[in-house]
Symmetry: C2
Subunit: 236 residues, 2 copies
């Protein structure tokens, strides 16, 4: 099964701009992408990064075995259009080798690049479903990951995409399964989400390493759990 | 297995006070409790509400089969102390019949009363684990539900309780399993969490019915998904 990972290479994680410098945002987004690619590769599938701008796999500093199965395709279109091109029965999209996406109807998975908690086990739970469409929802009605086996299903990431995708599946006669996973349901989008990386990140995770390198640590001094940077704490 | 559901009867859901009247908060909290009790009963287990104040099961308007297996115990102590009394090897606590908690070492589950998305399937995933301690973490490092089979394990809900519970398990030599569930990981605590009830609530859920009765609906007019009340919309 092809696993597509959309990546906004030019505007990574803008909602984290209050806590990261532009350079840090970019490095953190790349670290999350690297973790997601590794988790996918560890399930035995080959990830294709669909990036809004050229991206060198070598720059992601992936483990050799992960880099060997990872490909990159550039697609400047909005997320919905770029993903739809890769779905079974989609119009295809050129990857770096010049090969097109799936003109045949093989199932395709789409996994967001900011699922920093994704593990091979959590992904297996999604990838091994048998439904025409399987969705791992995120908070706020988002669609964090999905598997599409039905040739008429198309995504629409605008708004409450989880509900829209349920409706689209119904409208094309596709059966749908919702995958219940905290790890896949956690996209790292806002400063408060960084807590999840610090709590649930595995020691081998690149995103966790970056956060620590940037000086972030858990902070529950006010009774609620948040994050703080060393510099914040030093200035008090 | 006894399933304990702690319930703050006197100060329900204070962090929702910006969107609910006190009466609404109380009714919404009771509705979530009723949904949780029903889901537990549907797994074949008997829930015990450990309430900070007297609570009549009849007032919860539970389905008859659920009411028949639900009991209430009053314990005014803080959450951590009240729960520890019920754990295997705990000091016990009187329930409404005057019987004490488990002086024997039967496993005990603790499920928070605000897990409005809890389904029998999601709970089964927790209740059927074999580990000495199994935890379904919530966002922000919380412990939304757990099963304790080890007589020396005790809870501590203060701060990043998930990490603390991992550490406590290690310190008493208990093996630990983390249960990966979006449904159990979603506690309804803040106004933004109401989105989850509106998106994932089942039509038979009392909490969803209450939200609709109060006039809440999904609102994605500004591109992000939130909730709005009819009164808010009418005033624009």
């Amino acid at each position: 099964m092809r696993v597509v990972v959309p990546f906004a290479a030019e505007t990574p994680k803008t909602r984290l701009e209050s806590v990261f410098s532009p350079d840090e945002r970019s490095r953190f987004a790349s670290a999350m992408l690297a973790d997601v690619l590794r988790a996918i590769a560890e399930t035995g599938h080959k990830p294709t990064v669909v990036s809004t701008a050229p991206l060198a796999v070598a720059d992601l500093e992936l483990p050799e075995a992960v880099a060997a199965v990872t490909s990159v395709a550039v697609d400047e279109r909005p997320l919905t259009d770029a993903v739809n091109a890769w779905l079974p029965g989609g119009d295809g999209a050129a990857d770096e080798s010049g090969a097109t996406g799936d003109p045949d109807h093989d199932p395709v998975a789409v996994v967001m690049a900011d699922l920093a908690l994704a593990t091979p086990d959590a992904l297996e739970g999604l990838l091994t479903t048998a439904a025409d469409v399987a969705i791992a929802p995120g908070r706020g009605g988002g669609t964090n990951a999905l598997v599409v086996r039905h040739p008429a299903f198309r995504v629409d990431y605008h708004g409450t995409s989880y509900l829209d995708h349920c409706e689209i599946a119904r409208s094309v006669g596709a059966d749908l399964e919702t995958v219940d996973s905290f790890r896949l349901g956690t996209d790292i989008d806002e400063p408060a989400d960084l807590v999840e990386v610090l709590v649930h990140g595995r020691t081998s995770d690149r995103a966790l390493a970056r956060l620590r390198e940037f000086g972030f640590a858990l902070d529950d001094r006010d009774g609620r759990v948040g994050v703080a940077r060393e510099t914040d704490r030093a200035s008090e």
